[in-house]
Amino acid sequence: MILDGLINGLIMGGILSLPVLGVAVVYGITGVPNFAIGLIGVFGGFTTWYFLSVGLPLAILIGIGICFPIGYLLQGVLLTPLSRKKEADSTLFFLITISFGFIVEGAIRSVFPKPTISIAFPRLGAIHIGDVSADGFKFVALFVAVVALIAIRLLEQHTKAGRSLQATSQNLKLATLIGINTNQVFSLAHGAGCSLAAVGAIFWGALYTLDMGTGWHLGFMGFIIAVIGGIGNIWGGLISALLMGMVMSFAGYFLGGVWQSVILYGIVILVLIISPRGILGSERSI
């Protein structure tokens, strides 16, 4: 039972870590908590489902690709100009991104013919570890999460755009003073974050079902898990997602599904009281 809980927890955490990475990139760099990010990801999931007839790989690329300009423009056209206003505070961004989430929700409902979908991926059969067997495709989700994390780290360290992202997240004032175009960095980060959320939503849609509720759920869970890991700390986000996945898995096994949320959010409150900057500390200095 323990091995079963462990494997399922890891898989759940792996899937959750994808929107977490999206949130971590966006909030870690722009300082704006975008609560619509899950819905934008779900929009990408629905787009993938809609274009399945052109072939799965291309449909996935379209779904992920369409979320990039949404995030890029949301930041460049709305959030960056707004952040220059004196009245701009976290409450304002909370209300605006929530409202944007409802707009995306309306768009999904009006554009796509079904409110709930599942995305047909080829199945890989069961993988057995000891007495436990799990759908092989779930392991692919975990693998993609780890690859995405390593890719982000490599891009951050070995490309000019990546170093600009890293610099902006660590010291915004300095990044501006030395000549980094921080507005463009914010837009790029938001575009990349929304694309990562789309990857998470596509996997969710392949393993379970995708609807509007999933979008809000992934967005809020992603944000909470990113805070627990340490905002801007991408490794912290992954560890936090895996731990939270295991907490939910074991709580479900030992106490039943109804206790999952109680245990999970109880731990969230406890961690934030003990370490407000998350378990691995935040890299954000602003």
């Binding site: 610099a167 660590q170 010291n171 004032k173 300095l174 990044a175 501006t176 003073l177 000549g179 175009n181």
Partner: protein, 236 residues
């Protein structure tokens, strides 16, 4: 004498309804060190922030390389060749030393980056020794060296530095100021240093005395009565 590289005419600037800078005239020539001295609250930081465009000025003009720049963004002024090292930590805390220096060269040409890095390592050998170390694990003095190194990597013609000596041991301040002199002599950059440390009088070519948002004097350092400056402007 040549035209000044930077010319400021009667600028007024501040925060909210308060004017901290109340009509300042200032100039700086290519390849000199200008000291801006004054007690706390005199407006030194506000003045530097106004020069790079971090705060908007309410009145007056700023000419840099014969162009009016007061309406330009921080980025445009930076591209023209002006950079500010603020008073607080001028580093990216979670990056290694070398990457801090590389990122600071974001607007420098590729072919000059290696040369600039060699110059910085020559000036501050400790940075070469610690190039893989994460910046926030450096000592206070080393961080300041890194900050100055980053200003060099930025390859600006005019470098504004806000109180570089703050929080440093006297011996380190002396060494840091000697390095400033070397930077001026070997690169021909213009350095404008806001300071309260008397050691600025040893390296600056000219000193502007700032008090309550106004320039009280501007003299060549050798013409100054050092004792009066120390007493009135440096809290000695």
């Amino acid at each position: 004498m040549a035209e000044p590289i930077l010319r400021v005419t009667n600028i007024i600037a501040g925060y909210g309804p308060i004017s901290v800078i109340k009509g300042i005239d200032f100039n700086a020539y290519e390849g000199e060190i200008v000291g801006l001295v004054g007690p706390n609250g005199a407006g030194k930081t506000t003045f530097l922030e106004a020069l790079v465009g971090n705060i908007e000025i309410r009145e007056g003009q700023i000419h840099f390389l014969d162009k009016r720049i007061e309406g330009m963004s921080v980025m445009k002024r930076r591209k023209m060749g002006m950079v500010l090292m603020p008073q607080e930590d001028y580093i990216f805390p979670f990056m290694p030393v070398k990457r801090n220096l590389q990122v600071a060269a974001v607007l420098s040409r590729d072919e000059e980056k290696e040369e600039l890095l060699d110059f910085v390592y020559g000036l501050f050998p400790v940075l070469k020794e610690r190039e893989r170390q994460i910046a926030n694990t450096l000592s206070g003095g080393e961080r300041k060296m890194l900050s100055v190194g980053m200003c060099i990597m930025a390859n600006a013609r005019v470098v504004l530095i806000d109180e570089p000596s703050i929080g440093l041991a006297p011996k380190i301040v002396t060494a840091l100021f000697e390095n400033m002199k070397t930077i001026k002599e070997e690169t021909g950059k213009t350095l404008i240093l806001a300071e309260q440390n008397v050691k600025i009088l040893k390296i600056a070519d000219r000193i502007f005395g700032l008090e309550a948002g106004k320039i009280r004097f501007c003299e060549k350092t050798e013409d100054l009565d050092e004792a009066v400056v120390k007493e009135l402007y440096m809290g000695e």
